[in-house]
Amino acid sequence: MPSPMRIRAASKDGITEVRILMNHEMETGQRKDSAGKVIPAWFIQEVKASLNGKEVLQAQWGPSISKNPYFAFKIKGGKAGDAVSVTWLDNRGETRTDEAKVT
C-alpha cells in the first residue's frame, strides 16, 4: 500500500491553489544498483484531481519528475469546505487516492 499524500488546498479570490507532496521513489530506470544491475523504472505516470467529485485536472508524468514529487496547480472556483481529491497511478499499476478539505 503506497504511503499517503500531503494535500493542501486554499481558496482565495475565487481560485483554489492545490499543493501536493507525494510519496514515491520516481526511479528513472537509468540507475544501477551495487551489483551493476539496472534498477527498473518505477514512477508515477498519471495524476488526476477532482473538486467535489468533478474531475478538474489530468497530468501525465515521466521518470524525470523528482523523487517524492511536489505538484501545485490552481482550480478556478472552489471554496472553504470543498473536497479536493487527488489520485496517482504508477507504471506498476499501483495507485493512491487522498482527499483534503479546502481552507
Binding site: S3, L21, A72
Partner: protein, 271 residues
C-alpha cells in the same frame, strides 16, 4: 538553507584547491541564483511526508507491550511534544544522563514499549528501524518549529556534556588529521557553493542546529542530527560513533548551546 552543518568535511580537504579558489570568483552571480533556488524549495518540503509518518509512529501501539510513545517524556512532561525539541539535549533524572531527541526516544521505546533498542542502535542508517527513528524526529522537531532554542548548561552533567562536545569538535585526528573545526571553526569557509557555518559562533551554530533534521534533495532522504553527525565522522575518516552515544549527544549539546536563542526551523530542506 543548504548543507550547512559539518557537511563534506573530507571532501573539503580533497577539493579545497578547486573549490575555495575558483568558486569564489563566480560567487556573486551564483549566490543569487542559489538563493532563488533554495527559496523555491521551501514551499513544499517533502520532509512533511516524514512528519506525517512520524506522527503515526508516535501514536501507534507497538513493541512487546503494545503501547504507543504518546506518554514519552521528552523533557517537558509525559506526552508533551510541542516545544520539546527546542530544549534538547537536556539532563533527564530518570536515566541520570544528558540525552538528545534520539537517545531519549530509545529510552521511551525501551521503558514504555519494551522494545530491545540495541537493534535500533545497531541498525544501519537508511534501513527500516533507523528510518522509523528519523521519521519520529521529523514529527517531533516539527512541533518545535518557530520556537526558540533554549538549552540549559546549568546541570553539572549538562555542563560536562557541553565541554565534552567542545573537546570533540576541536579534536584533530584520523588519516587526514582533521577536526570538525577544520571546516566549521572559521568564518567564510565554503565548499563548492556551500557555505560552511562557523559553529563556534552563534550565527554559525544556529545556521546548522536549527535546520536539522532535514530532507536532503540530493538523496531524497530525511536525515536526523545523529545521521548528520555520523556522516561527518565518516567524512573525516574517523571511526563510526555509536548511535545516540554520549559523545554524539555531547556534540549536539555544544552546537545547541551555541545556538541558544535562535529560532527553530525544522524540519529543514537541504541540497
Amino acid at each position: 538553507m543548504g548543507a550547512r552543518i559539518p557537511s563534506a568535511l573530507v571532501v573539503a580537504a580533497l577539493c579545497s584547491v578547486a573549490s575555495f579558489g575558483v568558486v569564489a570568483q563566480e560567487k556573486d552571480d551564483a549566490a543569487k541564483g542559489i538563493e532563488a533556488y533554495r527559496e523555491a524549495l521551501k514551499d513544499g518540503n517533502p520532509a512533511e511526508l516524514f512528519e506525517m509518518s512520524g506522527e503515526e509512529l508516535w501514536r501507534k501501539p507497538a513493541g512487546p507491550k503494545n503501547v504507543s510513545l504518546e506518554k514519552c517524556d521528552l523533557g517537558l512532561g509525559a506526552g508533551k511534544v510541542e516545544g520539546a525539541y527546542a530544549q534538547l539535549p537536556r539532563y533527564f533524572k530518570d536515566t541520570n544522563k544528558v540525552q538528545d531527541l534520539e537517545s531519549r526516544l530509545l529510552t521511551c521505546m525501551s521503558t514504555l514499549q519494551g522494545v530491545d533498542t540495541a537493534e535500533y542502535v545497531k541498525a544501519r542508517f537508511n534501513t527500516a528501524k533507523k528510518n522509523d527513528l528519523v521519521a519520529l524526529t521529523a514529527y517531533i522537531s516539527g512541533a518545535s518549529n518557530g520556537k526558540k532554542v533554549k538549552v540549559s548548561t546549568k546541570h553539572p552533567m549538562e555542563k560536562q556534556a557541553f565541554e565534552l562536545g567542545k573537546r570533540m569538535f576541536f579534536y584533530q585526528a584520523g588519516p587526514h588529521d582533521f577536526s570538525c573545526a577544520t571546516c566549521h571553526g572559521e568564518d567564510g569557509r565554503r565548499i563548492r557553493l556551500q557555505d560552511l557555518p562557523n559553529i563556534t559562533k552563534h550565527e554559525g551554530a544556529l545556521a546548522g542546529w536549527t535546520t536539522w533534521p532535514a530532507y536532503r534533495v540530493s538523496s531524497g532522504q530525511m536525515w536526523s542530527m545523529q545521521w548528520r553527525i555520523n556522516d561527518c565522522f565518516r567524512q573525516q575518516r574517523f571511526p563510526e560513533p555509536v548511535y545516540a552515544s554520549d559523545l554524539t549527544v555531547a556534540l549536539s549539546m555544544f552546537m545547541a548551546a551555541n545556538a541558544n536563542g535562535a529560532t527553530i526551523q525544522t524540519p529543514g530542506i537541504k541540497r
